[in-house]
Amino acid sequence: MSTHAFRTEKYVQRSSSGQCFPYIRGYKILKTIGEGAFSTVYLAEDLFLKKKVALKVMKSQTLSYSFEDREVFEREVKILSELNHPYIIEVYDYGESRGTYYIAMELAETDLNKLIKTKGRKIDSKILEYTFIQICRALAEAHKHKILHRDIKPSNILYISKYIAKLADFSVAKLVSEEQFTTYITRSIRTSLTLVGTPGYIAPEIASHADKYKQKYSEKTDIYSLGVTLYEAFTGTLPTHEYHSIRLFRRNIPKILDEILKAMLSLDPDDRPTAEKILKDLGLNTEILKNTNAHEIKYMIETKKSEIKELVLNKLQKIEDYLNQVELLINEDQESIKKIEKIVRKIDKIFNDLFGTTQLADEIDFPSNIFILDYLTYKQKVLENILRGIFSEI
């Protein structure tokens, strides 16, 4: 029996039917849904609000919590309370109950790790594109607050609904000072100067023994981990030393996303973009959340729709004009026609996605729906690239 199991059983209460339910201050623990190095996550019921929550209970190495255990707990609570963001998991409550530290959090339906395991490469590309944007936004927010996550991996990307992904588990995250932010040398709380993160997702500069990279933690290490996580989600496999385009696995993924992912997986941290740069490269407004309300987002979505429509209609009408001059077409045009067929297919596919995404606007509340605007903006950029690229080639 683990120490932790022993601790939980201290609070087991017996119901009239004889069924056992452990309780932690106002929460009825229903089942274990995750197990980490420092904590266990339970599905629990908030007895006061009668709603299901994820209850994270801290593990201790001994029978009672040490000073270090308390520090781990307090750090995560502090970090999560600093980050109030639509794509970072929300903390409802936290505290200590009879010697047990707990955090009540938003309950997720599933996580990216489970999706990869159950669906492999068949996860809907559109959902992964949403996730890409949402988690980049979450990470940009954390980095803005000088917080390094240090353990980004598929199981820490939770889905609270089919379309909304949130970054979770800041238990090994670190709040660093401005000057330390980009060149932070990690010191684990539990064991000084040791490795933090999950093998396979750790950036090479952390995992490597080469002096050049040794133990230098920075925002770029988070970017690498996110790159690995997303690469795995798109392809079903971890990236190899040499980058293989995700477009080999998913042909419809826009070039721009592939290029960004490739840069995120650069071995040299200096070659990796920051989360903010990724958002900018996708054409997204990094300041969108500031002073924005639900009405404004709705209006911005409508405006964006009009912009995209105008952009695409303009080009489609030109294509239509061209096709109407059949008598002028010559053999050399065969190639052009092939390209037009390709572009029409692409636009059609993108518009199917856009139709689906804008329909979500009625289902998803503000501020979670910000990704809809982001997605439209990013697709606008993709469309611009496709239209520009094709036309200059012809």
Partner: protein
């Protein structure tokens, strides 16, 4: 008809048994204080004259000598003068003296005389005879003329040069026409100087130019010449340059484009010439297509934008022209699908196999319907 009534102050003073001098004084005070309106006091004769409205009307409508007026009013001439001065001072009515001050001319009478002249419908009206014997300021002359012209025709344009008027409008068009016809008699060109006295009166010059155009003359530099002369030059330049921007052409030669434009029909009747009305550009197809050929000769493709800039045409116009040239096989080129480039087919790589299959029309039609479905889809989003 009595135009005035007269009160003898002496008779009244006797009746009231007061000294006449006192009565004169009271009367004077009463007039000063406006207690006796339209009255004047003639002290030396001890009379008060009250002016009746009929006198105002009478003076207004007539030209009359002071002697006749003296007889009519049964007042001596000096009293009449005093009376008139009073009227003038009080501005009851406008009238003017003759230069010897022996006659007066009422304003309405003067207006009628001007109107009589105007109604002859001449565009040049000389009123010097009317005003030569009248003491009147230039300002008053202008005012009177303006008043008269307004009665004559509210829509007519007027230019006053002293006592001479220039008119421009429908009612005097015949007069302008006959004036021009007289000048034009058997002449091929007219120097602009011949209209110098009208040049500062734009409405009249417009009418003159319109009439000249009707007669087949068009302004060309300092002259009005037969339009064939201009067209001949236009044609010569067009055949030389292949493209003429009419705005530049007409500006350089002081030709009014509004008159030139309707004449272009004769040039454009020929198949080889195109007129781009919106941009006011004439294009000679064989020459211009040759220019395009020369321009694109070194390149396999030239951006349409560059061509448009080079020939100072809009992108839309150059596209249309190029399409026409391609259709008529004037240039061996083609437009790329989105019309961003003109591809020079003399240089662009053409498949070696001449017998390669032609464009699959069915495939294009299917693509066309896909595109229109997609357009509808995007519109419905």
């Amino acid at each position: 008809m009595q135009h005035v009534s007269i009160l003898q102050l002496k008779t009244l003073a006797d009746k009231l048994d007061i000294p006449v001098t006192s009565l004169i004084k009271y009367t004077e005070e009463a007039i000063t204080e406006n207690k006796l309106t339209n009255c004047i006091l003639v002290k030396d004769q001890a009379i008060v004259i009250k002016i009746k409205p009929s006198l105002i009307k009478f003076i207004e409508n007539n030209t009359i000598s002071l002697n006749d007026l003296s007889n009519t009013l049964k007042l001596n001439k000096n009293t009449v003068r005093a009376l008139l001065e009073h009227i003038k001072k009080e501005k009851f009515i406008h009238f003017y003296y003759s230069k010897d001050r022996e006659r007066i001319i009422g304003e309405k009478a003067l207006l009628n005389r001007i109107l009589q002249e105007l109604r002859k419908n001449n565009f040049i009206v000389d009123l010097s005879q009317i005003f030569q014997d009248i003491t009147i300021s230039n300002k008053d002359i202008s005012k009177l003329i303006e008043k008269a012209v307004n009665i004559y025709d509210k829509s007519i344009y007027l230019k006053i040069k002293g006592t001479k008027l220039l008119l421009a409008g429908y009612r005097v068009k015949h007069s302008i026409q006959s004036y021009i016809e007289k000048i034009l008699k058997e002449r091929n060109e007219i120097h602009i100087k011949e209209f110098s006295e009208f040049e500062d009166f734009k409405p009249l010059m417009n009418i003159i130019e319109k009439i000249l155009a009707e007669q087949g003359y068009i302004r060309y530099g300092n002259k009005y010449v037969k339009y064939e002369v201009v067209l001949e030059e236009l044609k010569k330049e067009l055949e030389e340059k292949g493209i003429i921007h009419l705005e530049v052409f007409s500006k350089e030669r002081t030709i009014d484009l509004n008159y030139l434009e309707p004449l272009l029909e004769t040039i454009c009747k020929e198949n080889s010439t195109v007129y781009l009305k919106k941009e006011k550009v004439l294009i000679h197809k064989p020459v211009f297509s040759e220019k395009i050929k020369q321009y694109i000769k070194p390149y396999s493709r030239v951006p349409i934008k560059v061509l448009a800039e080079n020939f100072s045409l809009s992108i839309k116009s150059i596209e249309e022209i190029l399409l026409e040239f391609i259709r008529e096989n004037l240039i061996n080129a083609k437009l790329d699908p989105i019309k961003e480039y003109l591809i020079n087919m003399d240089i662009a790589q053409i498949p070696l196999e001449v017998t390669s299959p032609p464009i699959d029309v069915a495939r294009i039609n299917s693509l066309k319907s896909k595109v229109s479905r997609l357009i509808e889809k995007v519109k419905s989003w």
